[in-house]
Symmetry: C2
DNA sequence: GTGAAAGCGCTAACAT
DNA sequence: ATGTTAGCGCTTTCAC
């Protein structure tokens, strides 16, 4: 603190603009003066004030990533990619967590906007109008990741897993493996991208396959182990005839499902096949989970973020690629 | 963007200083003008520019948290606490990950300093001089969490798990349970707080107990599942007489150890007892892990951060409280 | 209690 | 290629 661009200018015997030019690598400066400035900067431990710079440029070199819950193992993956990509683009990514508290999210969004962030990645779980309104205020690119808005005319660039088709595929996979009684245990019913679309994928696929889905074969709660247990318990309790396969809305849910099944003495995959979603915890969990792996799109997100061509007005909606991974939590019915 | 304090002043028919006073709640403004200003702010969607403010105050309302690896489940826990505590203190916490890349850490630290952050929490894994030098430049409070510096005269406030005593306790616990052949599989040998101190705790406790520790009973690698497997494999390969108990430097290591044991047909805890550290993943892993739970000190960290009494010059070093949790990965030897 | 005015440290015209 | 200068939007003495 303390040493300013003026000091460097004086020390190096040049004008402040020259120092500024050196710092920003803009336009040309004679090799000799550049050297002198650089030396002086080093010697005096000069660091430009982000505030002063930001005051003029309206930029900050910061990309803000807002996430609902850091604990969620799926998030770490894309976060790491975003991070690397940002550094490569001479920005730094900062992450803020709002713990699913929309009020907190608004507070953070305001703060981020005041900071003149150069990009915003919002990985929400459920939106409300207040958040969307806040999002609109940003002048920088705003990307919705992992979570879209159901409005058809979504005004923000969005990139998510293609839950609809993925779950269609999972359902058909089960059918091909000989299953016909298939249940679905999903997460937060308000979550458009990660729940509603997935459930719809399931129902549409079942219809395509001309398979019945009793009401009691469907459960929606949260994306957690506990909720998975509850869901399976509910299905177990309310059905004389159990399904032979369960599609879980996430790996954590799948773990809960399996935990419950184990607690009542049922084996996976012998007595029940369970398919997860995310490929997030299979290296820790005892039964390698068959699951949907999204090729997480930190790169894609940043491409949108840094693409000057990206027109804010033009609606952008894209999907991560995904693939089904077959491990040992599912089996073929003979 | 666009609407400034001037606009509000004009709109409300007061001076900019009055607006400023209202915004900051400083000194006194007549109730009437305050109302007028507040109304105008609302109506015009005014948000003060953080840059302009920061340029003067040298503050930002931001607390930066630098972590090595977000994937590490132990981190999410304290992060969440820090977050809440910050909001309560009218600051926001932003997290940045440096992926164990010290060069990246320096880059991020510089960026954070330029941003005039009001506090820095560094949760490193291993330090180098460059990082420490960078840390010194900060004018705001700097807290080292989860990781201390071995220098006796550590110049930063530090708060970590008391690995030394915790592992002493684990070792004695094993002894009391009838074990005498105890192995230790730790993480990064350069990590002072999380490895060196723990190993020392193990060795000191063993000496106290007058128990032998063959060289080949000790392995240090990384804090990962893979490294845990390697460690156990190494111990398995190099010893005719196997230990009956293994102390792992982290839960992830413990999982690796158990995986390896399973792969060679040994059962936990029947054939081998394994003690973890962190209490991070026991709800996901198949065998409930006996482990050391640190009462994670997000609150303590923030107390240091926000305590005006905290003297930077006065060395502060404290520990989280911890407790041993006995689950099913260990057994009593008959 | 309130306003005028002087910067905070930098960038970006604009001159030269 | 380089220097001069006018702000960016706010806080903060200092008068009144």
């Amino acid at each position: 603190m303390g040493v300013t661009i003026q000091d460097i200018a004086a020390d190096a015997g040049v004008s402040v603009s020259t120092v500024s030019r050196v710092i920003n690598g803009s336009s040309s400066v004679s090799e000799e003066k550049r050297e002198r400035v650089l030396t002086s900067i080093k010697r005096n431990h000069f660091h430009p004030s982000a505030a002063a710079r930001s005051l003029i440029t309206k930029q900050s070199g910061i990309v803000a990533v807002l996430v609902s819950d850091l604990t969620n193992p799926t998030i770490s993956l894309v976060l790491e990619e975003i991070n690397g990509e940002c550094i490569r683009n001479n920005k730094v990514a900062v992450i803020s967590e709002y713990s699913g508290d929309n009020q907190k999210a608004v507070t953070l969004l305001i703060k981020m906007r005041e900071q003149n962030v150069d990009g915003l990645v919002f990985m929400g779980v459920s939106f409300n109008e207040a958040i969307i309104e806040e999002l609109r205020q940003f002048v920088c690119p705003v990307i919705l990741a992992n979570q879209g808005i159901q409005k058809d005319n979504c005004e923000f660039a969005t990139i998510t897993a293609d839950g609809y088709h993925a779950i269609c595929d999972v359902t058909k996979f089960f059918a091909m493996e000989g299953h016909s009684r298939i249940a679905f245990i999903g997460g937060n019913p308000e979550d458009y991208t990660n729940e509603q679309l997935r459930r719809r994928g399931f129902l549409d696929a079942m219809k395509d396959l001309s398979l019945q889905v009793p009401e009691s074969y469907i459960y929606e709660g949260k994306f957690s182990i506990e909720s998975g247990m509850k869901g399976m318990e509910s299905i177990y309790a309310h059905n004389q005839v159990l399904p032979t396969a369960v599609i879980a809305g996430s790996d954590l849910i799948a773990i809960g499902v399996i935990r419950y099944l184990q607690s009542v003495g049922l084996k996976v995959p012998d007595d029940m096949s369970v398919f997860g979603f995310d490929d997030s915890v299979s290296d820790i969990f005892e039964i390698p989970l068959s699951t949907v792996r999204g090729i997480h799109g930190g790169k894609e997100i940043c491409a949108l973020l840094f693409d000057p061509e990206m027109d804010r007005k033009e609606k952008h909606w894209s999907y991560y690629p995904y693939q089904l991974i077959r491990r040992n939590s599912t089996r073929r019915l003979e």
